[in-house]
Symmetry: C2
Subunit: 348 residues, 2 copies
Amino acid sequence: MTQTAPRPTLEAVAERAGVSRATVSRVVNGAHGVREALAERVRRAVEELGYVPNQAARSLVTRRHQAVAVVAAEPETRVFADPYFAQQLRGISKELTAHDNQLVLLLTEGREDHARVGRYLAGGHVDGALVFSLHLDDPLPALVRGAGLPTVFGGRPGWDEGRDDVVYVDSDNRGGARSAVRHLAGLGRTRVAHITGPLDQTSAADRLAGFRDVRPDTDPALVARGDFTSGGGERAMRELLDRCPGLDAVFAANDLTAAGALRVLRERGLRVPDDVAVVGFDDMLPVAEESDPPLTTVRQDIEGMGRLMARLLLRGLDGEAPEAADGASVPAASGVILPTTLVRRATA
Amino acid sequence: MTQTAPRPTLEAVAERAGVSRATVSRVVNGAHGVREALAERVRRAVEELGYVPNQAARSLVTRRHQAVAVVAAEPETRVFADPYFAQQLRGISKELTAHDNQLVLLLTEGREDHARVGRYLAGGHVDGALVFSLHLDDPLPALVRGAGLPTVFGGRPGWDEGRDDVVYVDSDNRGGARSAVRHLAGLGRTRVAHITGPLDQTSAADRLAGFRDVRPDTDPALVARGDFTSGGGERAMRELLDRCPGLDAVFAANDLTAAGALRVLRERGLRVPDDVAVVGFDDMLPVAEESDPPLTTVRQDIEGMGRLMARLLLRGLDGEAPEAADGASVPAASGVILPTTLVRRATA
DNA sequence: GTGAAAGCGCTAACAA
DNA sequence: TTGTTAGCGCTTTCAC
């Protein structure tokens, strides 16, 4: 572990270039109105000295930090259960990087952490926040609201239904569910069951809604509650089979659930997709591709969601209307919904 | 997206409490030598005003940032292929949080990013760096070295063999591999094969070394090269079976590889574990638990690695000897190796 | 177009 | 024990 050396200041550059600090500052910040000859001298001096602006000093006067916080509740979300969060992070990181912003990661484990995060956000260390709030009773949203920071949410928040001052990005859970169920119907399946996720998460609720859009008159016995885990999928599949032995298709709320269902189906001697067709949601690769048979599922553009969240926030920071995001639909509330695609493999 | 309000300064607190800025500063920073009565007045003022210190101003004078960078090369590592990285991050986050440090995440995609990261690290925004460098020819290490920042590496770096100024944390890949192969031997297996990972990563090389420790005289035909993916595992397993139809056990370099091997074994009509026993590495849950049959594998304490990395770095920053980490062995180089445990499921 | 000077909010000598 | 003072490195009026 080496120690860090003292770094050159604006002052040093100014001296070397034979100009004032103000001029160097202008050049460094790309301002107009500096004669090219001088600017060139300054650039050379910067180069020679290996000058890098001190962000702390700059923040002190500009009140900008070129940094954005990403806040996620670790135990409540499925953040660490699958590569989902990592992919969002990647998208966020790409976009922030492209605009020279840093990513400060704030993970919360419980109540104690909330106070800390609140303090941090209120402390004016970052210019905005990207918040993942998947649960109805998540305290995080109120917290960032209290901090008064520009914020974009990941996933449609369950609270605040009617508000249009809440900016969020989500994938089209409802539409994706519809396409899955329609696909099953197109295969000639008539007894289509659904295993839901935990319904206090909007993604699960929306997928159920999509299922109902296509099958409004479904027998309630064909809907079983899961919890986004494969164990939950197994339990629900057993229930379903006991209640409705004649079912010929299952739409599972996510891939893990589908994997559990697949296992029970096999154990009961039912062939997939011949006897029962199965469609999942997420396209979580290690699960969907490795399952046996490989899973037909609804893919969402997870990295794209992350990128879009960052883009919306950055635009908001620059004072532009965040609704202007390109390439994405803009529904009533200030939410942006990304499309999903059905990936056909072997189970349906 | 709300706008942020102007926040109270030290000055404001001082005025309200009827003391000088210096006194407030002392109280806020928990310094000794302030009369309790005054301190109490200050605390009340802080409370009433909702004062939060401005970190930028503080950094400017202390040259400390209470922030640590986590640097990871996204495409080169398996960072986003599995929950591995997320878990390390969680451990890091916990430890940093406990010491009031922020986590700045720096993800690199390619060459352009390296310059950016180098600039950032050299820019004195963070007090230290946690670097994931799994490849032999990774340019990142040189980069952080150039930035002159205290650094701890995640995973044993392949370069710098003899140096003792390199601090890293790794899990006991070699010992874990040994325990896997010994377990197989204990089961009475005599023709034990190994599917390696990409050997330019030290984790893969170390696992191979562990295999060889226990089976020094293994027929080279019993070792096939994989790449940490299930596809690679399939290919290698086919090779192995073609070359040595009589093999009765396989130690796969990781769980994904094992999953691929399992598939080929089944496809060839071989029973697991009756005909061929299989052991993986990682205990990557969605794969190890969902595989059919559930995978016996070597578990590493991934979160613990992250936590330890952070702890070592923080100690280094405080000027203490980083080698003093509790609860972990301290080998010759300044690397800390965390133990692994064998998790028995159904495949061996 | 360029420079001089005044802070941004804080800590750390140094005096008192 | 407490206050006064001098910056930390930068941006930004405001003169020139």
